[in-house]
């Protein structure tokens, strides 16, 4: 264990806390992982602080748990997996280092939230490829490192996007920069030469950023990241498409993305969309939900600098022809939900309302990646599994996000339950593990394992686990980085 | 030219592997992308033209020497020229020529394959590369009323070729050819028993001196007959007379035509009128020595201009298979009423070899058959009921393969089908 005094020397005593209430906050989250209290919470101010903390931890074999977002945390990855850990809370590192319009990139520290970054990039005529309605306290770096799906599949070339480069302190205590950021040269020298830390791969024959992503802080602590940005459209026209038949919606989604037509594009079931738009107003929720079809596709067509009206008009007409062939109809409002309002909602900096905690309700989400063919059957399977477990399936939100330009589909079940209902909580808790087990057997790929289901997921492939452990031995031989997570 | 003269060409190989495949622009699917039977069968890079270029240079540098393996690799090649075409899509270098020179070097140095030695003995003694007696060479023409050009002046000579003369199953093609030509009013003559082997197969297998002797004797005969045009239905012979004889300055003004070229001309002139329906779904196999290797020889003498781009003085034009005989056989087929032509994937300058060439039929019958089977499978995939070609060597190769695998595909020479239609 690192002595408190040594920590205070690094970050200042005001940034080291042993306060029970504070420790309590970090000892649990909205998931069902075991409650384990950290020994301290430390708030570094910069890379140097982080490096020193990691080196101290290395010397004393003290577990470190990096956290960059504020609460509520949902997946258990920020709760210590073992006793005697120190939470390294990076949420105070809020520098937006650079926003570069010409090279379509932004660079920022882990404490920067979407709400803080969106205005900064907007000012430069840029935008982020966002996840769907992150909470206000969500760290952008955190989201990128978690490989959260993003809502513009057209601009999601690779599952790692939009993450570019990171600066990381490995569990060995070494500082490393990935991709173009590695060098040669300091960041300033690279900028002077015209570089902007855009190329994510490398340097040379390894792409370390991929190993850090998805690692839940088990390889190192990221102290800044750069992310690819897209340019702001000058004209947008969003649409909704409703159907009781998910297969039809999926067919349309496939072609929309394959032909690179829309920007934002995702599928929700009526529960999810009603939850998002009702903003915790039960009557509104009920009204919208009843008016909506079972499945809703949202997409947005955009124009940029050159003849935006022509582009949007042409694409809208092409989409209309496409939808006619499939037997669907894009509309501008559906069930009382306005496509334009929804677009504004998903593009805006997050407000106070967080759709996964809509007034009096909590949510446990289960998500995985599927190929195109299995999406419908896996969703049906989940409904059967959930119903069989006694869960009220009408409370289940479903979110299907095409990613990797339509090669993969993120399928997410948001199991809402009344926060005071102990019975429902127990059902959801059990389901969150049982469903994973059953869905894997049916062809769901859980690429982001969290919580109590993580061992089930990891243990599917011993060879991958062995390889990951070898990589862990390279980057964190002392296993000080978030031990107890994944297979470590 | 000698092997040393092609060193520069061999060193120019860039190891790109295109010699293994049909021209990439023409690939239309996963199947039928291979064009070189040798590497397709044996898989080691050694067996591709690229591999042969490398060990050719190594041989000149004495890093490899004669061995059973060397001979096996050298002679496990049908000399079909597909590699040459594929390479020359991009490159200005000779590929097939050094392959010929390597074999010539082997023979000159006394490293030969016994079965080929026996064939050459047959050539020297009986005048045929297909085992048989000289006296029986003319038997195919018994009953035909056709003049003997070795005894009379004849402007148009029909050369049957060794394969046809000594393979009874193929006599009908030669007979049909003569019959068609006569019906078109051509006063054709044949050599009969006195016909001489063209020598082409001898050249392909490295026996250059034997080839030269045959060419000299043949040209003497043709000159004596006052021949202006030589017609043959054998692609190997066609290539020998048209290309090789020209290469070695023997051909003179003799016009050399394949039967399909001549027949196409006669049809165009209205001297042959295919009117009867021949209802058949057919696919056409381009014989290597009629197709890509059938283009005229280009005489060139000069030198490479030193510099950083390989050009020559005078400018050298490379034979790339562009002017091979592809259309006349197809014109003949298209002129036959009721015949539907289905093309295979590998055709014209990138046709897959029948398997028989380069002495492979004799030195490695199993490889020859394997190659033919590949082609039979490709032919069947077109849905055609018949595989039509224009060379007795190909016909024999395919017929043997079909017999082996029990396929119901029929093999025809173009001439047979035309005769039915006229």
């Amino acid at each position: 264990m690192i002595e408190e005094g040594k920590l205070a020397e690094v970050v200042g005593s005001s940034n080291v806390s042993r306060d029970p209430a504070t420790l309590n906050e970090y000892s649990r989250d909205m998931s069902f992982v075991n409650t384990i209290k950290p020994a301290y919470v430390v708030k570094p101010r910069n890379t140097d602080d982080v490096k020193k903390i990691v080196n101290l931890a290395k010397e004393t074999l003290t577990p470190l748990v990096p956290v960059s977002s504020g609460p509520p945390h949902l997946h258990g990855d920020t709760v210590p997996g073992t006793g005697g850990a120190i939470v390294v809370d990076l949420s105070g590192m809020k520098k937006i280092i650079r926003v570069d319009r010409e090279n379509r990139v932004a660079m920022f520290e882990p404490g920067v939230t979407f709400g803080e970054l969106i205005p900064a990039v907007t000012r430069e005529g840029l935008r982020l490829n966002m996840p769907l309605l992150p909470r206000k306290s969500k760290s952008v770096v955190g989201s990128l490192l978690e490989r959260e799906p993003v809502i513009m599949p057209k601009y999601h070339w690779d599952i790692a996007d939009p993450l570019n480069c990171v600066e990381v302190i490995f569990g060995t205590g070494d500082m490393f920069r990935t991709g173009a950021a590695a060098g040669p040269g300091t960041l300033e020298e690279q900028w002077a030469a015209g570089g902007a830390q855009v190329e994510a791969a490398g340097p040379s024959s390894a792409s370390w950023y991929r190993v850090i992503q998805g690692a839940q802080g088990t390889m190192g602590i990221v102290t800044w990241a750069s992310a690819r940005c897209e340019i702001l459209p000058s004209l947008e026209e969003p649409f909704l498409v409703g159907s009781s038949e998910l297969d039809r919606i999926m067919e349309m989604v496939h072609w929309l993305i394959r032909l690179r037509l829309p920007n934002e594009c995702f599928i929700l079931n009526s529960t999810a969309l009603a939850t998002i738009t009702a903003k915790a107003q039960p009557e509104v929720y009920t009204k919208i939900k009843q008016a909506l079809p079972a499945w809703i596709l949202f997409f947005n067509v955009a124009g940029y600098d050159y003849f935006p009206e022509d582009r949007v008009k042409g694409q809208v007409l092409d989409i209309k022809e496409l939808s006619q062939r499939i037997g669907l109809e894009p509309v501008t409002s559906l069930g009382g939900v306005s496509a334009l309002e929804l677009l504004k909602t998903v593009q805006a900096p997050p407000g106070e309302f967080y759709w996964k905690q809509p007034g009096g309700w909590n949510c446990q989400d289960i998500f995985f990646i599927s190929n195109f063919q299995r999406v419908s059957e896996l969703i049906k399977a989940m409904y059967d599994i959930a119903a069989g477990a006694g869960y009220t399936t009408s409370n289940m939100g479903v979110y299907v996000q095409p990613i990797v330009q339509g090669v993969n589909y993120h399928v997410e079940f948001d199991m809402f339950y009344p926060s005071q209902n102990r019975g429902e909580l127990e059902v959801v808790k059990k389901l969150s593990v049982d469903a994973v087990r059953q869905l894997i057997d049916k062809g769901a790929f859980f690429s982001r394992p969290y919580g109590e289901a993580a061992p089930i997921i990891m243990n599917r492939d011993a060879a991958t686990v062995a390889a990951l452990k070898k990589v862990k031995m390279i980057l964190d031989p002392g296993n000080i980085m978030n031990p107890g997570k994944l297979c470590f | 030219m000698s092997l040393e003269d092609y060193r520069r060409d061999m060193e120019t190989c860039r190891r790109c592997s295109t010699c293994k495949f049909i021209p990439l622009e023409k690939v239309t699917g996963y199947e039928h992308v291979n064009v070189c039977p040798s590497i397709a069968r044996y898989n080691f890079h050694t067996y591709s033209a690229g591999g042969r270029m490398v060990f050719g240079v190594a041989f000149l540098e004495k890093r490899v020497d004669y061995s059973a393996k060397l001979l096996e690799v050298v002679y496990n090649c049908q000399m079909c020229g597909a590699c040459d075409v594929s390479c020359k899509y991009s490159m200005d270098m000779e590929v097939l020529e050094p392959l010929y020179e390597f074999r010539i070097r082997c023979v000159e140095d006394g490293h030969t394959i016994p079965v080929l030695d026996r064939l050459i003995n047959s050539l020297r003694k009986q005048g045929t590369m297909i085992p048989g007696a000289k006296t029986k060479r003319g038997q195919w023409a018994e009953g035909l009323e056709v003049k003997d050009f070795t005894k009379q002046e004849t402007e148009v000579i029909f050369h049957a070729g060794c394969r046809t003369c000594y393979d009874k199953a193929l006599w009908k093609v030669a007979k049909a050819t003569v019959s068609l030509l006569q019906r078109a009013g051509v006063a054709v003559g044949i050599g009969g028993e006195n016909e001489l082997c063209c020598g082409g197969r001898a050249y392909q297998t490295g026996y250059k001196e034997d080839f030269l002797r045959q060419s000299q004797q043949n040209m003497a005969l043709f000159k004596k007959a006052g021949a202006k045009t030589l017609v043959t239905g054998c692609a190997d012979c066609y290539h020998a007379f048209k290309v090789l004889y020209d290469k070695f300055g023997m051909k003179g003004d003799l016009e050399v035509l394949h039967t399909t070229e001549y027949l196409a001309r006669l049809i165009k002139e209205g001297k042959l009128k295919p009117r009867k329906k021949v209802a058949i779904n057919a696919t056409y196999h381009d014989p290597c020595h009629l197709g890509r290797l059938g283009e005229p020889y280009l005489h060139w003498e000069g030198k490479e201009i030193p510099g950083h781009i390989r050009i020559f003085d005078p400018p050298k034009e490379f034979r790339r298979g562009t002017y091979g005989v592809y259309e006349p056989p197809r014109e003949v087929l298209r002129s036959i009423p009721g015949l539907k032509l289905f093309e295979m994937d590998r055709i014209k300058e990138y046709a897959w070899c029948c398997g028989a060439g380069g002495g492979v039929r004799e030195t490695n019958p199993e490889f020859a058959q394997w190659t033919a089977q590949e082609r039979i499978t490709e032919a069947r995939q077109t849905g055609a009921e018949a595989l039509v070609t224009a060379c007795p060597g190909c016909e024999r190769s395919f017929s043997d393969a079909i017999k082996e695998n029990g396929s119901r595909l029929k093999v025809y020479d173009i001439v047979e089908l035309l005769e039915k239609a006229v």
Binding site: G195, E199, S205, V471, L486 | F21, P23, V54, M91
Partner: protein, 518 residues
């Protein structure tokens, strides 16, 4: 150093006697042709492989790798084997993966394809086109392996919309240097190919970056890659006879232009605009010399076209291709291109607009068949320098440094004079790019090579490091990694750890990667 009989017999037991050879004729043919001129007549040659093996599947590959570990011999695996495939020392066998040549799956709706190493891109693209799909083909040509881990980088003509190997790679199967089989992502978890990442961290990060390990980190036996929509016909309407093929018409929705610019800045501006407006299907910054070589069917014709094209370009340029998904899409993209041309003062090369030559250019750039003509036909020997992958303007600026060197080499008569314009390319609608200087020459001696390639290499390294231009793609080997690493987050030390961890006995010959030396 011949293999011990025990070792040879053990390998023979794995692949069968007809699939292994140590005959001098066979092993000689696996060396890249050596020219006496380049070795100065010295009796010094690249070491030959001790034996060549032809495994037929992953099990045989694994068995061979395990044998190599047991007997402490090295191996070098390759597919079509064009460059970087030779060992640097004795005691190395070749694994020629020719028999592993299946397309395992094409999933049209999930838009991916799975191949073994000896499927070539021409095959894959042709099969994909039948299904309305397309793939990014390695720039070296569609004669090369379709595995996105086989080529050096796997950038290609389609990278503008079809990215490149590092990002197109999905799940894969890997036989590690110590003989383990690891199946990445969804493949290991559920036996499906659509995702190569996770669970948790992505192992894709350790097996390739901008560049691949070039045989130095085990064997990649199968891989899936993203494929893309193809708006064209199932089979392109090609006519003609080799070497002159061309589509009989340009299919609707397609257009090709070669645009040249008064300055590199104007070119960069145009690339940015085309990228941001998302109108380009392909965008490749060939220079006039490459365009000439691409079209020409002989060196004589190459010279003629180069003269003609050089006179018609105003400076550096690029080929841009439009491939629209509908008539409206086509009209829009065409209109935007015309506007950008106007704004940047671009000239359009007439030969490419010419109905005689244009269709041929279009198809050759889609099928990627011109690289051999562009780099190799002149003398069979070439070289140059390459940059890395990073911002398009940065990579262009970097490669321009080297193009100034080319001027001196031309003046001294050491290389072919095919002008100074670099070859640059745009990736993912201009988010990143890459550049190269390609030279052609006929080396007369090892000194000649040193004075050309040696000088270019030295200056390229100096510029990249001192100019902070990133790590170029040519950086491999302990020496070069050791040169760049200390300036670049000591990446070489981490790379070495990967090698040491996953190939502890160093049986993957890694002269084109990094060794695990202390």
């Amino acid at each position: 150093m011949a293999l011990k009989r025990e070792v040879y017999r053990a390998l023979e037991d794995v692949v069968g006697p007809e699939n292994i050879s140590e005959d001098p004729v066979v092993i000689e043919s696996y060396s890249f042709p050596i020219r006496k001129a380049t070795t100065g007549g010295k009796d010094a040659y690249l070491p030959r492989f001790e034996a060549i093996t032809l495994p037929k599947d992953t099990a045989e590959v694994q068995a061979i790798v395990k044998l190599c570990n047991k007997y402490k011999i090295q191996f070098k695996a390759s597919s079509t084997g064009w460059l970087y495939c030779d060992p640097t020392g004795p005691g190395c066998i070749k694994m020629d993966l020719r028999r592993m040549n299946r397309i395992l799956e094409i999933n049209e709706k999930s838009m991916y394809a799975v191949v073994e190493p000896y499927v070539i891109y021409a095959q894959l693209q042709a099969e994909l086109m039948k299904r309305g799909l397309n793939c990014n083909i390695t720039g070296a040509g569609s004669n090369c392996s379709a595995l996105p881990l086989a080529a050096h980088v796997n950038l290609g003509h389609l990278s503008q919309t079809g990215s490149y190997g590092e990002r197109n790679l999905l799940a894969l199967e890997w036989v590690t240097g110590d003989g383990e089989i690891i199946r990445f992502g969804s493949l290991g978890s559920i036996g499906e190919w659509f995702c190569g990442d996770g669970p948790g961290p992505s192992l894709r990060g350790i097996i390739r970056g901008n560049t691949v390990p070039l045989g130095g980190l085990g064997v990649f036996t199968k891989a899936a890659q993203k494929v893309y929509h193809w708006p064209g016909p199932a089979t392109f309407p090609i006519e003609g006879v080799s070497p002159r093929y061309a589509p009989s018409y340009i299919p609707p929705g397609f257009m090709i232009r070669y645009l040249s610019f008064a300055s590199i800045d104007k070119l960069i501006e145009a690339v940015r605009k085309i990228g941001e407006s998302e109108i380009g299907f392909e965008l490749m910054g060939f220079n006039a010399a490459m365009m000439a070589s691409n079209a020409a069917t002989s060196n004589e014709e190459d010279i003629k076209y180069f003269k003609q094209f050089s006179a018609q370009v105003q400076g550096p340029g690029f080929m841009v291709m439009i491939a629209a998904t509908s008539p409206r899409d086509f009209e829009y993209k065409k209109k935007v291109l015309e506007k950008i041309m106007e704004e940047t003062g671009a000239w359009s090369l007439k030969a490419v607009e010419d109905p005689e030559l244009g269709p041929g250019f279009l198809w050759r750039f889609i099928r990627t068949v011109g690289s051999i003509r562009e780099t190799s036909r002149a003398t069979g020997w070439g070289g140059g320098t390459v940059g890395g992958t990073d911002l398009f303007p940065l990579m262009t600026k970097y490669i321009l440094h080297t193009s100034y060197l080319k001027e001196d080499l031309i003046k001294r008569g050491l290389i072919l004079d095919d002008a100074l314009y670099p070859f640059v390319q745009s990736i993912e609608h201009g988010h990143t790019g890459h550049g190269e200087i390609l030279i052609r020459y006929s080396p007369s001696s090892p000194d000649h090579i040193a004075n050309v390639q040696g000088v270019l290499n030295r200056e390229a390294n100096k510029t990249a490091i001192e100019g902070h231009f990133g790590v170029p793609h040519h950086v491999w080997s302990d020496e070069l990694h050791g040169m760049y690493g200390p300036h670049t987050s000591n990446y070489h030390l981490w790379l070495r750890k990967i090698k040491k961890t996953f190939d502890p006995n160093q049986v993957s010959e890694s002269s084109n990667y990094i060794t695990a030396k202390e």
